[in-house]
């Protein structure tokens, strides 16, 4: 049996691959792409919600939102670390993000226009993220699987907090209820797009399934999300913006209308409402922080020198 066959057999028997284990180049590359893309999504995802921290409508809400956005930074950190175990540096990954070579979840290229968007994002976007991510807790690459366990715990908090915001708005004044409905109208379809293209046109799926770095198809996960979310919308007294949506007794699932993939492709291609702002803000933070990182590095070097000259003197 050659290395490759041994690797495939190892994965087939549900064992975890660790950083130092032999792995095919393609597996490594696919994982680097997937994990770094995921990390970038966490980091870029801080911006649309960060947009409302200073305007949060109560101190309690401010505190919850700030803690949530901080969690997302933490997720980014775990995931960059997981990707680093595959032999790529955080700087290289940042560079790919900043120059547009690396992708991140398109959902974060939509604007957050009202406070209700904080509810809709938590409820729908974190909800969709959980659907996508829970299976990854069992993915074949150990460091990624372990990072996902931590991430998923926090995401389910976020989802509940988002739902709570929606609930308060739905039970609030007519203006608040309208705000909640408007947010659902704007975030529903982009959330369904978070699961990626239909299975028929998804290019990476089959190989990734075999390697167990993807465990369910895009369409399966999307269906689960719809099935979970529609009753929640009913509970909120809000209307899902899809005229074709209806319960299918025969399949035991909700049928839903066709997704406008041309919009998805536009946003992925960089033409969404906020693509430019998101990257510009990210690059600005990085560039404005360069002198700080340089100073920290210079100081660390000086301190190390002082420490070593002290030990050699002693």
């Amino acid at each position: 049996m050659d290395l490759n066959q041994r690797f495939e057999a190892y994965i087939a028997s549900d064992q975890k691959i660790e950083a130092k284990d032999w792995m095919p180049d393609a597996y490594r590359k696919t994982l680097i792409r997937q994990i770094s893309q995921h990390a970038h999504s966490e980091i870029i995802g801080m911006q649309p919600e960060g947009n409302w921290i200073t305007r949060a409508p109560s101190l309690k809400r401010k505190s919850i939102l700030l803690a949530k956005v901080q969690d997302e930074a933490g997720h980014g950190l775990y995931l960059y670390s997981a990707a680093e175990t595959l032999g790529i540096s955080r700087d290289e990954m940042f560079d790919a993000l900043h120059t547009g070579k690396a992708k991140y979840s398109s959902i974060f290229n939509y604007p957050t226009l009202t406070w209700a968007d904080m509810g809709a994002i938590g409820w729908l976007v974190d909800g969709a993220a959980i659907m996508n991510q829970v299976p990854l807790c069992k993915c074949s690459y150990g460091p990624y699987a372990r990072a996902m366990v931590r991430v998923c715990k926090e995401e389910s908090f976020h989802q509940r907090q988002g739902f709570q915001i929606m609930l308060n708005l739905s039970n609030g004044t007519p203006e608040q209820k309208e705000m909640a409905q408007d947010a659902l109208n704007r975030w529903w379809w982009p959330s369904l797009m978070m699961f990626g293209p239909n299975d028929a046109s998804s290019k990476h799926s089959e190989q990734s399934m075999r390697w167990k770095i993807k465990r369910f198809s895009n369409d399966e996960l999307r269906q689960r999300f719809v099935d979970m979310t529609v009753p929640q919308a009913e509970l909120l007294g809000l209307t899902v913006p899809d005229l074709d949506l209806k319960w299918n007794e025969a399949t035991g699932h909700y049928d839903f209308g066709p997704i406008d993939w041309s919009e998805f492709e536009q946003v992925v291609a960089g033409n969404g409402p906020c693509n430019r702002e998101r990257i510009e803000a990210r690059v600005a933070a990085h560039e404005n922080g360069a002198w700080v990182r340089d100073a920290a590095a210079a100081y660390a070097e000086k301190s190390a020198k002082r420490a070593s000259s002290q030990t050699s003197a002693a």
Partner: protein
């Protein structure tokens, strides 16, 4: 006296709230992920302190105002934070020097408040806050040293931050009828009594950072009596927008 203690607690709460609001502006714009997280952490601690203090101030005032009524329905003329904490964030060095100057003061103030037995509710809040601000003080001091003794550029930048921000430090140590009443009641010694220790500690940090302690220059003041910089009104307009637009709504 009750009035003055309520006012006193409001000052503590406003310092914490306004600085938390400023620090939260950093979220997703920090110089490194780790520092983004650290600044958010500090903001969250301060926000927690502000909520406890404003709630207590509202109870003592007994006019039915809770933390949100105090945070969202007062004008800038009614806020009584020190000017230092409302200043715009500037660059990371400005933020961290402001933080260090404030943290060193906050530690001394909370030490005193945590160890008195006249106002036990306030002492309990102070004891919790003290643990937090000690951590903040270590963090900001460490960064001032890194930036001061880092590169030529970082040294030049934070020396300038320090020269500008220094003008706002004397206000922290001012005393008036409110602080005198608190001193007499045994709640907290005069602000002026902290000057020597604060100066000593700040100088030690600046020495290690190879920074020059500014000579006292024009010293700016007014925050405690509601005369603020131009910046606070903008901050409050942003912070209060939803409450003011939809009065009476629950969120």
């Amino acid at each position: 006296m009750a009035d003055q203690q309520h006012e006193w607690i409001l000052r503590l709460g406003d310092d914490a709230l306004v600085l938390a609001q400023r620090l939260s502006e950093w979220c997703s714009h920090g110089p490194a992920l780790e520092e983004d997280i650290a600044l958010s952490n500090i903001a969250l601690d301060l926000l927690g302190q502000a909520r406890a203090l404003l709630t207590l101030a509202g109870q003592r005032e007994s006019q039915g105002r809770d933390e949100d009524a105090l945070a969202y329905f007062r004008t800038d003329r009614e806020f009584c934070n020190a000017l230092l904490v409302e200043l715009p964030n500037g660059h990371f060095g400005d933020t961290i020097v402001r933080q260090m100057l404030f943290d060193q003061f906050a530690v001394l103030r909370y030490e005193a408040l945590a160890s008195q037995a006249v106002d036990l509710e306030l002492a309990a809040i102070a004891a919790k806050a003290l643990k937090e601000v000690r951590y903040h003080a270590a963090h900001s001091a460490q960064w001032v040293v890194r930036l001061g003794d880092g590169t030529e550029e970082s040294h030049r930048r934070v020396q300038k931050s320090l020269n500008v921000l220094w003008q706002y430090t004397a206000e922290l140590f001012e005393d008036d009828a409110v602080s005198k009443a608190c001193d007499e009641a045994g709640v907290q010694p005069l602000n002026g009594s902290f000057t020597a220790r604060w100066t000593e500690q700040v100088r030690a940090i600046l020495d290690e950072a190879t920074l020059t302690c500014p000579e006292s220059t024009a010293l700016l003041t007014g925050g405690r009596s509601g005369r603020h910089t131009e910046h606070l009104s903008y901050m409050l307009a942003e912070m209060q927008v939803l409450q003011r637009t939809y009065p009476g709504a629950e969120w």
